[in-house]
Subunit: 326 residues, 2 copies
């Protein structure tokens, strides 16, 4: 497979570029006219580290690589714009499988209004997909960083947690699926292999005055700590308020795992955690609802630094403590 | 080595960000205010495919990864702005070596006015460095694509060719160095491991009215064909006018290779090939000279399609024919 032939095929089947793109894939560089402020993030996934080709077809891998990158734009409240994809192709992976991978990414790009504007293809010892995404806003102040939370704000979470970790358990140990209905098992596996970047909810939270926001890639325990540190504020999370995905408790029980540990440090849920001034909480919930997602109040920001976690039995843990839950 | 610890160390030692960067490494995304048009390109290099860790220390690899990416911005005539680096770290590569790699990239970033604005670190089976670079211009028409050459223009080349291919021969077969002086051998090896993106020359050519431009990553034979195809024009290249780097002829002779083949299809010289209207040729040469590079007229554009190559002995080859030179 020649790099140029593959890129030419990719170029042929891409949808029309977005309004900011003046020149897409195929030249030395893509040309865009951002017309405001940009948010740019890079994310790479590697076979054997982030995914197994046993569990995912190429299209699913391409889609997930873009989804994970776009999740960072969601966490900024950005409008998605362009994506640039580096594909490292291992021995034995043919051109058709590469095209399936690109088609998976392209499908999510079309759903989210993202233009696949550039790329590079190289040989590699393991399948590698590195994605750079560029999102937009009218001015830089519209973006929500991790650093703006102030004491006395509400801590909110989109969607549900634990599903991606339970889905991974189901992929690795298919016999655990007997603990839930087939529909729930399928939904949990989909949370793992086909995460949805919360772009609409992210923009809604930004518009509703979110002061700090982060996407949950590693689990709420670790990611909340990063938000607290960057904001120089403390966070209190009430685990009884965490919306846990259907089936997580059953799968955890069948696997002999603590469901709260899956829900808080399993990672890969790609939901958004944000701080919102309390007087704008109703507005934020309505805006996130209009974007098709749910919003739960899971805690609050405090003057002290660090993250305090309230367990259902009344015990309190420090951040990172989720990992020690048995 | 933890990803967060490494990124935190990287973040600490980065120089101050450029004027367009409002938020650099460390959040979900970097925030910039481009204020005009952007050119964006991605390039990845992989151990065992693009480089050998036997021939290069980590700093050299980091520098080369950024150089190769910036060369695409040079070919657009862009002002370099931001770079985003994905680092795939193989087993056995420690944190210090990662920092050396980043330091190598950072040094070139500082030399070229580029801000290292974001990154991702992951485990990988082989050392992988994927770099996204963003360059700038006041408006999109200032960028020079591959597509604008018209018949009757001069075809010009910055610098010298063949050095990178001869340098690779010297790295792979050190005994060939006896064919040249130590200083020349060192210069040829540096052409291979430490290419210099021709950013100043690229901007000078853009300002002097270059109608199409490409950087020589694969060799003038293949890259000229891409420029011709995108422009819908023909090119004639006179090989006797090609500036061949000192020592290439001697190293080629010692290796039993045709020097013209090294100079035209060896690749990795990262010089710029451009079409310039003949009445602006003197202006272009002066501007490139002021940017510290040489400019040679190596051919012209024609109405016919394709690339015609005139050899010193009067024979004529079609593009791609360089590969068959013995």
């Amino acid at each position: 497979m020649g790099e140029f032939e593959l890129l030419a095929r990719v170029r042929e089947r891409l949808p029309a570029p977005g309004p900011r793109v003046r020149l897409g894939m195929g030249d030395d560089a893509a040309i865009t006219v951002p017309g405001g402020a940009t948010a740019t993030s890079v994310d790479a996934i590697v076979e054997g580290v982030h995914f197994s080709r046993e569990h995912c077809d190429a299209g699913t891998i391409g889609r997930k690589a873009l989804a994970v990158a776009l999740s960072d734009l969601a966490a900024m409240g950005a409008e998605p714009g362009e994506a640039y994809v580096v594909l490292g192709v291992p021995p034995g992976m043919g051109e058709e499988e590469c095209m399936e991978l690109i088609d998976g990414a392209t499908a999510l790009a079309a759903e989210t209004g993202t233009t696949l504007a550039g790329g590079d293809v190289t040989r590699a010892p393991a399948l590698t997909v590195a994605v750079t995404v560029v999102g937009h806003a009218a001015d830089p102040e519209r973006f929500v960083t991790r650093a703006g939370a102030r004491p006395g704000e509400a801590l909110v979470l989109t969607g549900e947690v634990g599903g991606a970790a339970a889905g991974l358990l189901l992929l690795e140990r298919p016999e655990l699926a007997a603990a839930v209905t087939p529909a729930i098992a399928e939904r949990l596996r989909a949370r793992q292999v086909a995460p949805r970047p919360q772009l609409g909810a992210g923009r809604a939270l930004a518009a509703a005055g979110a002061t700090a926001m982060i996407d949950l890639s590693d689990g709420i325990g670790g990611d909340a700590l990063r938000l607290a540190e960057e904001s120089g504020a403390g966070l209190r999370i009430d685990t009884s308020a965490l919306p846990i995905a259907d089936g997580v408790i059953e799968v955890a029980a069948a696997a002999g795992r603590n469901p709260l540990q899956l829900a808080t440090s399993g990672g890969e849920d790609y939901e958004l955690l944000a701080a919102v001034p309390p007087e704008r909480l109703d507005e934020a919930a309505a805006a996130v609802g209009a974007a098709g997602a749910a919003l739960a109040r899971v805690g609050e920001t405090m003057a002290d630094s660090g993250v305090e976690i309230k367990l259902p039995d009344g015990r309190r843990l420090e951040a990172g403590g989720f990992d020690q839950l048995s």
